[in-house]
């Protein structure tokens, strides 16, 4: 009988970690549904970016208040979770505070955790106030209704609850309080708890269990939440684009065809370029569904923190257009989830009559973009909404000839007379002789 708690704990741990692993596998599978894109070059610079931007939070502090609060939560959360190691060992082996033999150092550790826990509670409260009382505009755009809004708040509640549980667990631990070291915060909570040792013991056990169960719950919550960023921020900054932001990818299939057309030695009567043999059908130009995007774009979508910094600097969004780069990322993720569930259910993807284009992202949004790169520059985790917009424009134009009329005119002009306007190429140097 005495092993029941240990067994229960082991089951909790296995279920918690098992379910999480299952979802991580799903996540990786979904990201891999994207098109290949080689980002294996320049690993030194990539490591450097990851260390600066994700680990070092360098782009976060461009907005100082949010940035500093986040650093507290981020550092606090990581450091406090060192405590989880001890909890796991205690839970599995029925020990109690196995690391306390470290003595003064242990007190120092737990003491620091307690102070951090308090700081986290304070920061998270300010985050909550910014969202719900101050109502910062970027948390109230159109796409932030329903789940995204609840998710934003839920994360803050869960973090607070976990921190309070951690402190109460310490406060109700009679032996720990008797040491009177490493309890700079919990000593004050201890003062207001009942003094009956049996009651205290119950409180201690209950908070201990809730704390670890809460952490496992939170771990599993990640996959369904923007909080997934705490993991994906790292690979996402590692694999981010290193080229100049103005450099857009040249389409390789188009390149082959244009080279053929321009090659004077090519046989004019030869059959048109064979469709890519392996796939048996001609390659689609651009993207109409999420899986036409590169795997990096899909990882971007899962990484998005929904902070809305991109949207707040988007010239189109600021002037009332439908386009919101954050919404582009959120819709891409939603569509990926839908595709993933479809695969889970049917074994392989079965046509569901839906696409990213039109069912999620409208042409109106896509055409409002000025390709100014403000969203890319602003994103604290180096997400690139613009590349998705451009891929989808390519589909609209090259597969559907569905550009706005004026753009069709512009493109015809470029094609026929080498300028976006209707001027004759032979007049290109006339300016020389005009005043």
């Amino acid at each position: 009988m005495q092993y029941i708690p240990n067994i229960l704990f082991a089951i909790l741990l296995v279920v918690g970690i098992g379910y999480f692993t299952r979802n991580v596998k799903k996540l990786i599978r979904n990201i891999k549904l994207g098109k290949p894109l080689d980002r294996s070059d320049n690993s030194n610079l990539r490591w450097k970016n990851m260390i600066n931007i994700a680990l070092g939070q360098s782009k976060m502090v461009r907005r100082p208040i949010a940035g500093i609060l986040h650093i507290i939560v981020y550092v606090g959360f990581i450091i406090i979770n060192i405590e989880v190691l001890e909890i796991v060992v205690d839970g599995l082996f029925g020990t109690h505070r196995i690391l306390s033999f470290l003595g003064g150092f242990y007190s120092f550790l737990i003491g620091s955790f307690e102070i951090l826990a308090l700081l986290v509670i304070v920061s998270v409260t300010i985050f909550w106030i910014r969202r719900n009382v101050v109502k910062l505009k970027r948390f109230w755009n159109k796409e932030m209704k329903g789940w995204p809004k609840e998710d934003g708040n839920l994360i803050l509640y869960i973090e607070t609850v976990l921190m309070v549980l951690f402190l109460t667990m310490n406060a109700s631990d009679v032996h720990f309080q008797e040491m009177h070291a490493g309890n700079p915060i919990s000593r004050f909570i201890a003062d207001i708890l009942p003094s009956n040792p049996d009651t205290l013991h119950i409180i201690e056990r209950v908070t201990w269990w809730l704390h670890i169960a809460g952490i496992l719950f939170f771990l599993n919550y990640l996959y369904f939440s923007k909080h997934l960023h705490i993991l994906l921020a790292f690979p996402n900054t590692y694999y981010a684009n290193l080229e100049p932001k103005g450099k857009f990818k040249n389409n390789e299939t188009v390149k082959k065809e244009v080279e053929m057309m321009m090659d004077p030695s090519a046989d004019p009567f030869a059959a048109p370029a064979e469709p890519t043999e392996e796939e048996g059908e001609p390659e689609k130009f651009g993207a109409s569904d999420a899986t036409d995007l590169s795997w990096v774009s899909l990882m971007n979508a899962y990484t998005c923190t929904e902070c809305g910094r991109c949207t707040s600097v988007c010239p189109a969004n600021q002037t009332g257009k439908e386009l919101s780069p954050r919404a582009i990322m959120m819709k891409t993720r939603d569509r990926m989830e839908e595709i993933g569930k479809n695969i889970d259910k049917n074994g392989s993807f079965q046509d569901d009559g839906k696409q990213l284009l039109n069912d999620y992202i409208t042409p109106e949004e896509l055409w409002a973009c000025t390709s100014c790169n403000a969203c890319v520059e602003e994103c604290p985790v180096n997400i690139d909404p613009l590349s998705i917009i451009m891929e989808m424009r390519q589909y609209l134009v090259m597969e559907q000839s569905a550009a706005p009329q004026e753009l069709n005119l512009m493109m015809t002009n470029v094609e026929n007379n080498g300028a976006p306007w209707q001027y004759n190429q032979m007049d290109r140097l006339n300016w020389k002789d005009e005043d």
């Binding site: 080229e243 100049p244 932001k245 103005g246 450099k247 857009f248 040249n250 389409n251 188009v254 390149k255 244009v258 057309m261 321009m262 130009f285 651009g286 010239p315 189109a316 600021q318 002037t319 009332g320 257009k321 439908e322 386009l323 109106e364 055409w367 409002a368 000025t370 390709s371 100014c372 790169n373 403000a374 890319v376 520059e377 390519q394 589909y395 609209l396 134009v397 090259m398 550009a403 004026e406 753009l407 005119l409 512009m410 493109m411 470029v414 094609e415 080498g418 300028a419 976006p420 306007w421 001027y423 190429q425 007049d427 290109r428 140097l429 006339n430 300016w431 020389k432 002789d433 005009e434």
Partner: protein, 259 residues
């Protein structure tokens, strides 16, 4: 105006030091042509051996690419590259950030490898090498603000060259609240120049013009023919055209030097 073409140069067996890529706006748009001429005057004054492609130049394909038409873009690009490679072009300067970006970043993948400079970078090197001097002249003491073109700034991280040049005019350079990496687009990029904006509650160029008006400049300096159009229109809508001039940096320098 002395504007040799590559063909003429070749006929004389000469290779210019740099190709001046004029661009469509610079060739055809009435406002932008003034920028082209101002830049040529500076090149001539500094005795730079340059040439243009003239009627052999064609759109870089940038607006088609940003609109999603990779075919038209690559056809344009490969045609231009064929011509420039035939002339053995090594170095290109252009007064249009869109041409600059496209030739510098997107042409190499299609076989066009050149050293490409924006005219502000080129003028800066002329200055540094002592081939040209700038004195304040008529602009001395004026309040000037600089609007960062997206395709020069964020897209290619050129922020200082234009500012260094402006400062040489002994003016008071005032920055808008959104500048450099935070600069707001004028609204023309991504092929927006060639279409009506989507439904919204404001035009982007008005939003940007308001940024500029906030710092009460006498001159709004730009480094892009499209930004120039957008800002000029914005200033007109705000009925400030008698108080505020919108000028390219090449024009500022040419005027200051009374070229």
């Amino acid at each position: 105006m002395n504007v040799p073409t590559m063909a003429e140069m070749m006929a004389q067996g000469k290779q210019p030091e740099v190709l001046f890529w004029v661009g469509c706006a610079g060739s055809f748009d009435d406002r932008a042509k003034k920028i082209t001429k101002a830049f040529v005057k500076i090149l001539n004054k500094a005795n730079v051996e340059f040439a243009v492609l003239g009627t052999e130049e064609s759109c870089t394909g940038d607006p088609a690419k940003r609109a999603g038409n990779e075919f038209v873009f690559q056809m344009q690009a490969m045609t231009n590259i064929e011509i420039m490679n035939a002339y053995e072009v090594k170095k290109i300067v252009t007064a249009c950030p869109h041409c600059f970006n496209t030739i510098k970043n997107e042409y190499p993948g299609l076989g066009g490898n050149y050293e490409v400079m924006h005219h502000t970078q080129f003028l800066k090197t002329l200055l540094d090498e002592g081939k040209m001097t700038i004195e304040g002249g008529s602009y001395k003491g004026k309040r000037i603000t600089f609007h960062d073109p997206c395709y020069l700034g964020r897209a290619n991280e050129v922020y200082e060259a234009p500012r260094d040049l402006i400062q040489k005019l002994e003016v008071e350079l005032v920055e808008m609240k959104r500048c450099r990496i935070n600069g707001l687009c004028c609204g023309a990029g991504g092929a927006q120049m060639f279409k009506e904006p989507e439904k919204g509650n404001k035009d982007i160029n008005i939003e940007r013009t308001e940024d500029a008006l906030e710092v009460k400049p006498e001159i709004i300096a730009t480094g892009c023919p499209f930004c120039n159009t957008m800002m000029t229109d914005g200033v007109k809508v705000k009925e400030q055209e008698n108080e505020i001039e919108v000028l390219d940096i090449a024009e500022l320098i040419a005027n200051a030097e009374e070229l």
